[in-house]
Symmetry: C2
Subunit: 348 residues, 2 copies
């Protein structure tokens, strides 16, 4: 029932190949012919069949975006940015949610591989070697993780953690905890490394707690542990955890920031809405989404993926750039000077 290229050809008195060219290579057809064809196409409500096009060109004009948990408010701005950028280049985005499960992640990426031109792996939980294997099957850009040999866009959470720790040191804190994130998270390792270095440099003490789920519940559940550890400040894996932790501490009778200071990471919209407003490390989430799409689509004139077309000898300069986006510290109300009494010295 839907109009095909053939119907348009018949209606406008030209060959189907001319109609095809009208859409995919307009400069090759006579302007007069072109307007006629376009008019007929419009009339008949013709829309190119993407399956047929994909079949022959080998390119679907779709990209896959795999995230750990779409309900985590960190991701939607990234998804939104990626989607906008993709649409802008005439691509569409498949979003898939792995529920923080590495196995689901692998299955999904395979299921998607056949029907997209590339995949954005966002905060992947699977191993580097698995990612490399996947990248041989389909072009991949990794977000929030460093994998050598693959294009990556990262946010400098190391720097962010350092800034956060320095902020806490300046407020007089000497016993600081790092709330660990999920196992397998690159961000987690980076934060730990940087926070460790920064505390050492400041002559302070870093206690690492975790791993914990990157959720509000995960943060809340760690409250008791935090209390017992006797620290006066906590750097959480992300804002959600930080918010949950504040709730949890509150239930334990510890006030933020009077008794304990808390810093989050991500600067999700929510962090401005809680009381106290959250001091946090802002990550350029939207920029990351846009950049990743650009990197993936950089070579989209290269012709069919894995096709028997003329070799890509010249086009094979996949630069595999690795981009590190800067973060910054946003100081709000959840951090304050170390409590004078020093709750770490019960008798003092």
């Amino acid at each position: 029932m839907p109009a095909t290229i053939r119907d348009v050809a018949r209606a406008s008195g030209v060959h189907i190949s001319t109609v095809s060219r009208t859409f995919s290579a307009p400069h090759l057809v006579n302007p007069e012919t072109r307007v006629r064809v376009l008019a007929c196409a419009e009339d008949l409500g013709y829309r190119p069949n993407r399956a047929a096009r994909a079949l022959i060109t080998g390119r679907t004009h779709n990209i896959g975006l795999i995230v750990a948990d779409i309900a985590n408010p960190f991701f939607p701005p990234l998804i939104k940015a990626a989607e906008g950028q993709a649409r802008h280049r005439d691509y569409h985005v498949f979003v898939a949610d792995t529920n923080e499960d590495p196995v689901a992640e692998e299955e999904l990426v395979h299921a998607l591989a056949k029907q997209v031109d590339g995949v954005l792996l966002c905060s992947p939980r699977m191993s580097n070697s698995l990612i490399e294997q996947v990248s041989r099957e389909v072009p991949v850009v990794v977000i929030n993780r460093q994998v050598t040999g693959l294009p990556c866009v990262m946010m400098d959470v190391g720097q962010g953690a350092r800034l956060a720790v320095e902020h806490l040191l300046a407020l007089g804190h000497r016993r600081i905890a790092l709330l660990g994130g999920p196992r397998g998270s690159w961000t987690n390792r980076e934060m730990r490394r940087a926070a460790g270095a920064a505390t050492r440099a400041g002559g302070a003490d870093l206690t690492v707690l975790g791993p914990n789920p990157p959720t509000e519940t995960g943060g809340g559940a760690a409250a008791e542990q935090v209390r017992r550890s006797g620290v006066t400040a906590v750097l959480a894996y992300n804002d959600l955890q930080a918010i949950g932790l504040i709730e949890g501490l509150d239930a334990l009778g510890l006030r933020v920031p009077a008794d304990v200071s808390v810093v989050g990471v991500d600067d999700i919209a929510l962090s401005r809405l809680t009381r106290p407003k959250l001091t946090t490390v802002a990550t350029p989430t939207a920029a990351a989404g846009r950049t990743a799409v650009d990197m993936l689509l950089q070579h989209d004139s290269e012709g069919p993926r894995g096709a028997r077309g003329r070799s890509a000898a010249a086009g094979d300069r996949r630069t595999t750039a690795q981009v590190m986006l800067q973060t910054e510290l946003v100081v709000r109300d959840s951090t304050g000077p170390v409590p004078p009494s020093g709750r770490d010295a019960p008798g003092a």
Copy 2:
């Protein structure tokens, strides 16, 4: 380079049609042959080409999901549920974000129509007639809106609004405001109708304010208006607005719930994290996503869409069910008894 059905056929010594059947109609092929074919396919890493399959069957095994704003925390749980349900039935989901723009919405649905088997229109902002037109091009299930003749899944916000108003009446409030949502929102109209009826029935007064954007900013911006209106309780269009409003009122020196009571709608995760915790109308978001997918895929054995296949005379029983999901009131801390001094009588 990727293995095709032909390679598998050659490797296993059968005709391509047998390979095809091994995957799409296994019961038609001899068990021995089947295992041999499957083994070869596995060996060669064969994966069916979805474009080719789509070309001939007319079904892509993809569905589109169009939402107003993916960054609105109302949507992710719905998306997640829809995606899971779809995956469960071997479908994938395209998510598209319209930025609350009816024009973008229409463009998107058309762009998507050709490459999906159906579209979920979630909280659409476009007109009913446009939706009907779209539904002639591609199967549609509408979420959060009632369109006669089309399958819809709605959440009973009317009932929710009534419950909320009755709750406020029971607390002694007599001057109540309804914060309107975006123009074109069905939810908005339903709430207005139900809230109006409930206040009238309770001998109280309803002031309608708006329209306002369904965001935190939208709520915050309405704070001044709320103060001037002299009401003691507000029913917001959604939780985001409610939270923004609470912030805004706070900035104006009005405390919630001591001076003004506020009720939201949606029960997003966030509403449990703010202070005060939000009293709100809980909507069954995930259930809506699952139900919508089921309704869309109900007839997925019907054969090619818009094809010249045997007529769907018998299969044409698209029941076009309209499902109304129940809502419930969750009372938390943002509502309380009407202030004794009655701030509506400045001198009293």
